[in-house]
Each structure stands twice: as C-alpha cells, then as structure tokens.
C-alpha cells in the first residue's frame, strides 16, 4: 500500500525572522518554547540584537470552545461504553449494537454542529461568525464521511437497501430543498413561484417522489392545460418500484418490475407525452437516468456524490456494494469534468466507495488537524473487526496509535485530561506507560487536583507516580514551611526519609516555640506512625503531652522513659525529655518508681558524660552552657529526691 505523503504543516511565528536568526526551543508537556538566537558562537554579531521575544507555541486545539468540549465529553462516554460491549454480544445483536454506537457518535456530531450554527448566526462580528461557520463545515464533512462508513462498513448494507441508505445519506447533507419547500409552499401561488420548478427538480433528484407529485398536482390545479401531463408524470412517480423496508420481494423481482417501469417512462418520452413542457420532459429524462439531463442540474446536485446516488436511483437501483466504486469514479469524473480537480473530501469518499478503510483513515488523518475523528472512527471500525480483516498486521496498532495521539492531546488541557485517562486505559500496549508519563506532568495547582490525580494513579497501582507526586508536594510544603501538609504527603508517599526530615522540623519547631503545630495530624497518625522512627517518636511524644494534659501521670511517665530507653528518641532531644520529666518528679505523689528513677539517672549520666551511644554525635557541649549546667543540677536534685521518696514508698506497707 502506498504511503500517502502529507506535506509538513508550516506555522509562521510573527516577529521571527528565519533568514537572520535561528531558533532555540524546549518542549513542555503541552506547549513548546521558542526563541530567536544565533547558534554559531564564534560569530560575533555586529549589531546588538534587539530585545527578542519568547514564543509559546501551542497546538491550535483551542478547547476553550465550550461546544467542542461537549463533543469531547459526550464522545468519551460513547467510547467507554463501546469498549465494554466487547465480549458480551455476537452476531446480529452485536452488529445492531455497533450500528447504534455509530449513530450515537453521529448524533453527537450533529448536535455540536447545530449549536455552532446557532452561535455563528448569533455572533456579532463577521470574523467570529465565519470562524464558527468554518467549524460547522468541517463537522459536516466529518459526519458525511462517518455516515458513509456506517452504511458501507458497519451496517454492511446489501444491495437493495444500500440505495435507500445512500439516498438518506444524500438527503441529510443536501438540504436546500427543505428551505425552498417552505418558501414555495408558503407563498400564495406555489406553482408560480420562481423556485417552483427548481424545487420539483430537486425533489425528484433526491428521490422524494411523493412530495414531487404533490407539487405537480398544485401545478395541475393552477394550470389546467398541463393537468394531463402532470397526472401522467405523477402516475409514473407513484408507480416507480422501490424497495421499501419490510418489503418481501427479492431483488430479482424488484429489478424486473423496475425494468418494466423504466420502459414505460421511455415510451412516454418517445411518444412526446411531455413534449409541450420543457420542465416535465426534463423531469422524465431525469427519472430515466439520462446522464445529460442529470448533469444539466449540476447546480441543484451541487456535488458529485449526489449525482452518483441520483444516477444509481434511476439507472441501477439494485447496485451491489462492490460495484459502487465504478459508478463513483465515473460520477466524479463526469461531474467535475473540466471544472475543477478533486478535493481531499472527494478522495476520502472515493476511498470509502472502494472499501479501502485504511485509505479513508489515512486521508482523514492528513486532512484533519485534530485526532478526534480518526481516533473514534478507527476504534469503532476495529470493534467491527474490520481492521484485521483488511489483512494488515498493524491493524490494531493503528487503532492504538490514533487513540494515543488523541489522548495525548487531551492532556494539554487543564480539565479534559481526565477523559484522556480512559483512552489510555484502553490501549493495551502503550497506554499504561503513556499515562504514567503524562500524568506526572499535570500541574498540581490545587489540593483537589492533586488528590484527583493521585486517586487515578492509585487505582491503577502506579506506585512510582504516586510516590513521585507526593514527594513533589511534600517538598513544596516543606519549602513553604507547611509542615503538616509536608508530613501527610510524605506519609502518602511512604517516604520514610522525608518523614524523618519533616518530623525533625516539627521537633525543632517545638523546641523553639514550646508548642506543636498541626496537632490534629500528629494525634491521628495511626499506623502511619511506623513509617519512620522519628515519626514514631513525634507521635509518641505528642501522646506523652496528651497523657500529661489528662493528668495520667503514671502512664505519661512510663511513656517518657520508654522513649529514651528504647532509643526511639534522638539523643539531641533527651535533654528536653528529661526537662519534661521535671514536673513529674516534683509532684506531691511519687510517679516514677525507684527502678524508673535509676533509669532516668542513667540517661542523664549518659548524656552529661558525653558518651556517644550508637554513634550520635550531637550531645556534646552540654557542660559548657550555664543554663544547661543549672538544668542538669536541678535534674540531679529532683531525681535524687524522687529516688528517696520512691524507695520509701516501695518499702512501706500498703495503705500507709
């Protein structure tokens, strides 16, 4: 298969002069930075360069359009629903379901078009109006292509109903008719209206023969001279054999009947039944599928695929899907003859008629700058098992390729990225790793957003991303001195080292200010306390304070002692702990037992002799400080007194 080469898209950056300067650049998650520079450092520029500008380049997918966002949101819902259909259904019910999905997508496109048309009409300035009209045109083209793909690939409409579907397809997209219809019927003398014959012709071209007949009857009423002819033509219209849904006749029967009818029309033409009315005669010719007559109506047909369908209606109504592309090609050629060359949309439609799905997708990818259309359509076609059957091994890879492109684009947007997550989820090869790369880069401006991102990562067991994001937030919090926040992020990151660091800061704060910040957090650490020794100490130390506050002195005392003896408390903190013991030692009742008092004394001696235990180097210099010396003295005294009292108490009988 030939590689279709699209030309690279050129973006001009106003203000940059590529002839004089070069560009340095950097990628961002959703944008690119570009700046003028000169790379060859050896060259000295003569002129001091004027103050350059920095350029931020973004893909022109301006999601700020509320209406497009709706399209993305709604199609996301359909996409996710479609992925779940997969296993359950088979055979006919599966096909019906897939067709339903296709129609859903199309109705979402149409709803979007509708809203945009309204905006275009309501727009005050012509520039905005034209912008929105452009968008409507593009959406209309998409719907046109999608609709055709639905008929040919998804519904796989066989000969017979095929033509009916194609007629519907054309009617949906060439709809001046309805406007004229309203105008003409609304006027006083419909048949005298200047657009009357245009209308009738257009109706006939679209195979809307009942309506055409009604028009003719108006003409018959208004112009008795032509009544006879109108009646005849009307009869011909009425009797044209057409396959209606639910009709049980076979194609062969239909063909036979149609042949007879065709001959009857031919006879009338030869007999000159309509000779006195140019209009009626030309209508008859059209109904005979006379190409020349059809091509005279180029204006009305307005495009070659209308020409194609009308041609088929009146010359090969039982056309088979496989025969379509012959007629399509010749229709295109004849319609465009000399006037213009084929355009991208024509190529896409032609590829569809040729049942070359890959070509359709490829051409669409080149023409449309947003991946939305090709991604969703390809995914749907893949579910119809069409990509594999078209024998190229990368069938499923193409689906994934397009979905990845689309989803990556969504991540550039501050809220649509959430839709992107689901698309990545359904890309089995590279979806997960792509999601990991993208989700890390989402700026976490608010706590809410951070939690949302984390939840998504946790659901998917992306532990490294969770850790990294929490670490980033913890670091940011520490630098802004929000210790409580830093601590909770460290815990969530399961980052023991950082938790230790933050705990140290808490303790330092306490030493400086005499109180704790973020008590709620520390009080409710729960099992998270075990993350790091320092954190455990922090939690337990706070617990000591609580016990003290509740006057549960004995429990508090035990806890305090255990903090030192179990080595959980950093040595640098022992002085503080011992000082905390003072009020307990000074109480009227004896709180520390003799045993405990001996322990306390031992701790104090350890500290003051400066003997480093377990390599903690930070307990020196205590003796140099006067205040410290006084404290130590006081402690020694208090400990001695307590010891005395404890020994006496313990040595006495109960109840003394």
């Amino acid at each position: 298969m030939e590689e279709v080469d699209g030309e690279p898209i050129i973006t001009l950056i106003p203000g940059v002069n590529s002839k004089k300067k070069q560009l340095c650049f950097d990628w961002g998650p959703g944008e690119m930075l570009v700046c003028e520079t000169l790379f060859n450092k050896k060259e000295k520029s003569e002129v001091v360069p004027s103050c350059p500008s920095i350029y931020i380049i973004r893909k022109n997918e301006d999601f700020y359009c509320r209406i497009l966002r709706k399209l993305f949101n709604e199609s996301h819902g359909i996409f996710v629903g479609l992925q779940r259909i997969e296993e359950e259904l088979t055979g006919k019910s599966r096909k019906a379901e897939l067709v339903r999905v296709s129609k859903n997508y199309r109705s979402v496109i149409r709803a979007c078009m509708e809203e945009m048309s309204q905006v275009a009409i309501a727009a005050k300035d012509p520039a905005t109006s034209s912008l929105f009209n452009n968008q409507v045109a593009i959406l209309s083209a998409m719907e046109l292509v999608w609709n055709l793909c639905e008929i040919l690939f998804i519904e796989v409409t066989p000969a017979g109903p095929l033509l009916l579907h194609l007629l519907d397809w054309v009617r949906l997209h060439v709809c001046e008719v309805d406007t004229w219809s309203a105008e003409v019927l609304g006027s006083e003398n419909p048949s005298k209206h200047e657009s009357f014959w245009n209308l009738v012709t257009a109706l006939v071209l679209q195979g809307r023969l009942d309506e055409a007949r009604q028009m003719l009857s108006k003409e018959a009423d208004a112009n008795p001279a032509s009544a006879g002819m109108c009646r005849v033509l009307g009869d011909l219209m009425r009797t044209m054999p057409i396959l209606s849904p639910g009709n049980t006749q076979t194609l062969t029967e239909l063909e036979l009947k149609w042949q007879h009818w065709h001959e009857e029309c031919e006879r009338h033409l030869q007999d000159g039944t309509f000779a006195s009315s140019g209009h009626l005669e030309s209508l008859c010719k059209i109904m005979l599928g006379d190409e020349k007559a059809l091509l005279e109506q180029k204006q009305q047909l307005s495009n070659w695929y209308h020409f194609l369908v009308t041609r088929l209606l009146y010359s090969h109504p039982t056309v088979k899907p496989t025969e379509l592309h012959f007629y399509a090609q010749s229709s295109l050629d004849r319609f465009l003859e000399g006037d213009s060359s084929s355009e991208p949309l024509d190529n896409i439609l032609m590829a569809a008629f040729e049942f070359d799905i890959h070509q359709v997708i490829k051409e669409c990818s080149i023409v449309l700058s947003n991946w939305w259309f090709v991604a969703h359509l390809t995914d749907l076609l893949d579910h119809c098992k069409l990509l594999q059957s078209h024998n190229l091994y990368f069938g499923s890879n193409m689906r994934e390729f397009l979905l990845l492109e689309y989803a990556s684009g969504l991540f550039a947007h501050h809220s649509l990225w959430q839709l992107g997550v689901d698309y990545f989820d359904h890309c089995p090869e590279l979806g997960r790793v792509s999601l990991e790369l993208h989700i890390e880069r989402i700026p976490l401006n608010t706590e809410q957003k951070a939690l949302k991102v984390l939840r998504i990562c946790e659901q998917r067991k992306m532990t490294e991303q969770v850790r990294s994001i929490c670490k980033i937030l913890a670091m940011k919090a520490v630098r802004n001195n929000r210790l409580g926040s830093a601590l909770s992020w460290s815990i969530r990151a399961k980052d023991a080292a950082f938790a230790t660091l933050v705990s140290d800061r808490f303790l330092k704060d306490y030493c400086e200010r005499g109180c704790f910040s973020d008590l709620d957090l520390i009080d409710n650490l729960g099992p998270a306390m075990m993350l790091s020794d320092r954190l455990t100490f922090l939690g337990k130390y706070r617990e000591f304070h609580r016990l003290y506050g509740e006057q549960r002195f004995v429990d508090g005392a035990s806890l305090l002692l255990s903090l030192m003896t179990s080595q959980i408390a950093p040595r640098s903190f022992w002085m503080t702990l011992l000082t905390d013991a003072l009020p307990l030692l000074e109480q009227k009742q004896v709180i520390f037992s003799a045993e405990q008092t001996y322990e306390l004394m031992r701790c104090l001696e350890d500290l003051t002799t400066g003997r480093p235990v377990h390599g903690e180097p930070d307990a020196q210099g205590l003796q140099d400080d006067d205040i410290e010396t006084t404290k130590v003295e006081m402690l020694r005294l208090a400990l001695a007194r307590n010891l005395a009292r404890a020994i006496i108490k313990e040595g006495s009988l109960e109840g003394s």
Binding site: S18, C24, D62, E114, A137, S140, A141, D178, S302, E343
Partner: protein, 360 residues
C-alpha cells in the same frame, strides 16, 4: 496547526537557551547578558517574569531545571568556565505580593578550565546528580548526597572524552535492565578526530563510567544530542544534531555474547537521517513521550519529526518566521475553536462548485 503567543524577553543580549520546568508552568531563559530570568505562568495563562539575576561573568550557554522532587532548583553553565546550582527561596510576603521570588546560589562548580558548554541533571531515580561538559573535553558528574542541603556537591566522576565537548544527554530510562548511561557529543572541527559521539555506561562493579560505544558514522561536529524517553522498549533511541538530523537505535547485545563485566555492547542502526535544514542542525529535543523529535538548524526553522504507526519517520511540521511583524497584543492567541482542517479547501469541497449549503 499551531498558534504562537509572544512574550517580551527583556534580556539585553542574545538568548542562548530556554527551558520549561517539569510541569510547563515555569520557564527559564539565559543570555549573553550573563543573567538568567525565571518566568511563571499565572492562572489565566499569562507569563510574568518573577526573577532576573546575574549568574555568571560570561555568556550563559544553558539553563536547566532539576526534577521538582528536589524542589525548585536550576543549573546554569557559562563561558566563564563555571557551572552553578541555584535554589529558589520562598520569599517574604512583600515579595509575594509583588510577584517576585529570590534565587540563591547554592554552589559553583569550578573544576573546568574552559567554557562549560552543557549542564544536565541526571534522571531522578539516580538522586540529585548533574553532569557538565566543557571545551576542555571532560565530562564531570557531581552529586548532592543530601537533598536538603544543596550547598554540598561532590565531584564523583571525571570522564575524559579527548575532544572538545559540546553537549551531553542522560538516558532517561529508569528500567533496572539498563545501567545509567550518558551520551556526549563533540564539535571538534578537525577531521581526524573520530569520536564525535561517545556513549558511556556506569559499571556497578568498578563504580566507574566506561566507554560503551562510539558512533563511528558521525564524523562532523555534533552540536546537540538527546536520548528519547523510553516507553518500555528494550532498545534506546538517540538523536544527534550535526550537519543533519540523525536518529539512531541502540539495541543492547545479549550479555552472554560479550565479555562479562564489561560495558554493554550495542547494535547500532540509523533509522532516520534528514538534511532538510540544508545546513548545520544545532538543537534536537524529544517531547515527553518520545514520539516527536524537534530540531533546529541554520535555516532558522524548527522542524518536527514523527514516526507513523509503521515506524517511518518524516517531517510533520515546521515552525519558522518570515519576518512579518507581530500584530496586535502579545499574549493573545487565536481563539479559534478548532477540530481544524489542514487544508482550507475542505470547506470548499463541501460546497461543491458553486452552490452554498445550509444545514438542517
């Protein structure tokens, strides 16, 4: 299709490097005016300069951000033979109101005897580490063991490349299957000098970096080099900016086939070569998923290269300027709501030859 917003840069001399931070909400620029500027993006999308300070006593060639796990940290390198590490200090409330922040120098790396041409932080899983390269042909790797104390950096490795170095790139892959790897490019002009692209790999046993490969097919001066982010591939992709754009794949050869304990051997293939810039290519850089390569050349354009689903690389976009003046307000983009059409005639082809169409 892309749209460009412009911001007045305010540097007094040529800007040599621009760099986005990890999240794309801050950027840094450095210039021959010896200063670095930091810009922040506000909630409504406008960019404001929040810091501007003199960093070196010579032109500043490159500026780069550390991973935000390490806080707000920048590194810069300069013609003045030094590289420096900067950290943002959370300012006084006055500064916050004025929208200004302060950056302090944490360390100056003075080991180089010549202009330091590139500085790059290592992938975050290696800790807080950076590499510099100089015109004296030496790549130096520094580490800050304590992330909370950025004034302590130690020189861990000095890799002699024998040729004047212009650029370095760390392999971002954090897979356990790959040892840390760094590619070095040289812009040495003499034709005899062969090793314009060298790849060094860290050896766990010797605890040193050893040369793993030289790309022998690159014989012209190399200006930039970039490993692509790895999406789980077993092989590496390296882009080289030289007289053209080249993309190489490096497939590790199975260990059994190489002498044990030595650096990995690689099968090197060139998967793409483009000379569309018609001249020297100065910069190459990958997007975050490693699916698009951007290059910048003497022709004043930035080109975007992408592989399709069949792994064929081609140019998908060009950014350039034709010198036309900026019109209207900067910072205002097109508010074009767009599923877009690359080919404007798409609309015409809907309309057919002449009749316009309305939609029901």
């Amino acid at each position: 299709m892309f749209v460009a917003h412009s911001i007045a840069a305010d540097h007094k001399d040529l800007i040599h490097d621009v760099s986005f931070d990890f999240h794309g909400r801050r950027m840094a620029t450095c210039s021959s005016d010896q200063s670095v500027k930091v810009w922040d993006k506000s909630e409504n999308g406008d960019w404001h300069c929040t810091a501007s300070w003199k960093t070196h006593s010579g032109s500043v060639w490159r500026v780069t951000w550390a991973h935000p796990e390490f806080g707000q940290v920048l590194a810069s390198c300069s013609f003045d033979r030094t590289a420096a590490v900067w950290e943002e200090i959370v300012g006084e409330s006055n500064d916050k109101l004025r929208g200004q922040s302060h950056w302090v120098k944490r360390t100056t790396l003075v080991d180089s005897r010549t202009s330091v041409t590139d500085v790059k932080f290592a992938p975050k899983h290696m800790g807080l580490m950076l590499a510099t390269c100089s015109a004296d042909g030496i790549v130096r790797i520094y580490e800050a063991p304590d992330v909370m104390n950025l004034s302590q950096w130690s020189l861990q490795h000095e890799i002699s490349c024998k040729l004047s170095c212009s650029c370095i790139s760390w392999n971002p892959s954090s897979s356990r299957a790959h040892s840390p790897m760094i590619a070095v490019g040289s812009d040495d002009g003499s034709p005899n000098a062969m090793a314009k692209v060298q790849i060094f790999e860290y050896n766990e046993n010797t605890r040193k970096y050893a040369k793993a490969e030289t790309l022998m097919t690159v014989t012209d001066p190399v200006h930039d080099i970039a490993f692509a982010p790895n999406l789980g591939r077993s092989f590496h992709i390296l882009a080289v900016a030289t007289k053209d754009v080249r993309i190489f794949t490096l497939k590790p050869v199975r260990k059994e086939l190489t002498s044990s304990g030595g650096p990995t051997k690689f099968e090197i293939h060139i998967v793409a070569q483009f000379d569309n810039h018609n001249s020297q290519v100065w910069r190459v850089s990958w997007n975050i998923t490693g699916t698009v390569l951007a290059s910048s050349g003497d022709d004043g354009c930035v080109r975007l290269w992408k592989a399709n689903y069949m792994d064929n690389w081609k140019c998908t976009g060009i950014l350039k300027g034709n010198g036309s003046p900026v019109s209207g307000n900067s910072q205002q983009g097109n508010s074009n709501p767009s599923l877009g059409s690359n080919i404007p005639n798409l609309q015409n082809s809907l309309n057919g030859s002449s009749a316009s169409r309305k939609h029901s």
